[in-house]
Symmetry: C2
């Protein structure tokens, strides 16, 4: 069953007639290193203004993508590579992709939360920019929103305050996450200009032409290492509460939602771990197929991975809503809206687990 994607006779997974060895891995790493350098050049050409152009954001995504793949290959196929080089390289690549990911993560988190508030408040034109946020700071937003808030409160004196709460919650999240995003942008720019990053880029440039394989690598089969990555994934999935997850509306994701010990939720950690292992498995499959890594996309694996991305995003959005609710001096209506939003995102977490269980079950059934 675990062999399904790694069957050497399967023409989908690799070129016919060649066994994947250290040379295959070297080709894959060179291709990813070249892609890293191309993306870096593109990122420098497209500029890096505070607003980040679309092309610049795309270049950053490409940089992260290749950094993740190189790092993953160093992990999965370490026995074929120079181990000192691997150990010095991996944390640096993780630092690059992690640093570059933050700005995008805050942008996506804000968009997710504002979209949810739109849905929850049933307004087609949600005035998140117009309403004043609670709490300290942002006198600009406060002034801009004063009239809108007063109007809504007058129009619906009894029940309108909840809607004002949703608008204020949106403005508060907007302010907090935009600030975080701006800081992440500056941090990323500083990182890209640092000597630490230049050292990483230099090493990747060397990798693009010369991969530090061990002498035995050319005769070493990649497949047992890829299989081990798949088995680590399967073991971790086995430890997940999949029976519960497969039962819709199990209400598990919101358990302890008001507990003081559970932001972020410890129950999410094994799922985050499976997300990383699934990615390692996917990249290992890519590496087996040679330089371009054109593995035929396994749609079930893809939906399982997407479900885990949703899980991570909803989990972090829920934590951001809970965090915003701790802002001093917010109005009760704002806090109420943030509570509804937090619970809504925790249910998205639960929905993502259900989606993962469904995708994984399909895979297991068809593979057995």
């Amino acid at each position: 069953m675990a062999q399904q994607h790694l069957d050497p006779t399967d023409p989908r997974t690799r070129p016919v007639g060649t066994d994947p060895t250290g040379d295959t891995l070297a080709g894959y790493l060179r291709a990813q290193a070249t892609e890293f350098l191309r993306a870096l050049r593109l990122h420098r050409e497209t500029g890096s203004g505070a607003n980040g152009s679309e092309a610049s954001a795309e270049a950053a995504r490409a940089l992260r993508r290749s950094a993740r793949r190189i790092s993953a290959s160093l992990h999965t196929f370490q026995p074929l590579l120079d181990s000192d080089w691997c150990e010095s390289m991996r944390p640096e690549l993780a630092w690059v992709s992690g640093t570059l990911a933050m700005e995008h993560a805050y942008t996506a988190r804000l968009e997710r939360l504002l979209t949810a508030l739109h849905r929850l408040s049933g307004s087609t034109a949600f005035p998140s920019q117009a309403a004043g946020a609670d709490g300290p700071a942002s006198p600009r937003a406060r002034d801009a929103g004063a009239r809108a808030t007063a109007t809504a409160a007058t129009a619906a004196p009894e029940r309108g305050n909840l809607t004002v709460g949703a608008a204020k919650a949106g403005a508060l999240l907007d302010r907090q996450l935009t600030l975080a995003r701006t800081r992440a942008h500056s941090t990323a720019l500083q990182a890209l200009g640092s000597s630490r990053f230049h050292a990483v880029a230099d090493k990747v440039a060397v990798l693009a032409s010369e991969v530090p394989l061990r002498t035995t690598a050319a005769a070493t089969d990649l497949r047992p290492h890829a299989t081990a990555a798949e088995e680590r994934l399967r073991d971790a999935v086995t430890a997940l509460p999949l029976v519960t997850a497969g039962h819709p509306y199990n209400a598990a994701a919101l358990v302890h939602g008001l507990s003081p010990d559970t932001v972020p939720h410890p129950q999410d950690a094994p799922w985050h771990q499976v997300r990383l292992l699934l990615r390692l498995h996917r990249y290992a499959r890519e590496a087996l197929t040679g330089p371009k890594g054109n593995a035929v996309v396994d749609l079930r694996l893809l939906s399982a991975g997407q479900a885990l991305n949703q899980h991570r995003d909803a989990s972090e959005a829920a934590a951001a809503a809970a965090q915003a609710a701790r802002t001093p001096r917010i109005a009760p209506a704002t806090a109420y809206a943030l509570g509804v939003l937090h619970a809504d995102q925790r249910h998205e977490v639960e929905a993502a687990r259900f989606a993962f269980q469904q995708a994984w079950q399909k895979e297991t059934v068809s593979a057995s």
Copy 2:
């Protein structure tokens, strides 16, 4: 398909060899009237103190049960009965069962909400009685809870306020729903002692011996009327958004959850209506089987009905949490907890719709 439960040849639904006519209906009504009088006597014997003993509560339940069945029969089989009598009797029976239902409803709602808060706050010993509620009034609760609140806030200065929020939300709901329950209890006692109620009881006493059938009733088949009740149910179910409901985690129940126009949610109304029509259908089936109304319980119908009861209870609990959040001068942490609780109950609403869809689908499949 619609005939399934009404097949006259089916030995489960009625005594073999007798067609259900006005006489069958009269027997059923006499039995229910007798049950009403028995329950009323029991209720008077068991007393009606402010705390309502278990026996007294059981008697009130039995009173409501028989009142609902008589009222439903008057509705479904009205063409067989004296129409002036029916028209004067039905609103009075609805008043009796409605008035008696309120105290129990508030008790159950409070229990549901406190249980949910327990689950959400992850505490095995939830201090709902100990913590002071926010808002005006209840200096007693405020004093009692002051120490507990201060202790929790000291132990976890940064995140503890949310847990305090859950405790305060529980205390606030406890106070508001206990007050409502006490008022409902007084109202029920007043109703039971009123001349209006004595008039209803007198009419039911007459019904126990003499049912005002029309002259044609003895020759009239009950089944077309019962079938019509079933068809009204099926038509109403057809109008429900069952495709959406059957798709887990559709997030439909929380849509407009923060809108000012939607407490209680108008989207719940068609489901509440189906709940009533399902009950009418069930009582009509009972009446067909004669005096005792011992219809074989249709398990699918039962689970569909239970899902709709859950739907109603969760819908009203969610509205109570939203209502409590409008209490003046509550703390943001209290409001946040009430927001989480509201969303949690709206997801219970969604879960109940899913459960109904599953039960109903089974019924349709097996009946076709």
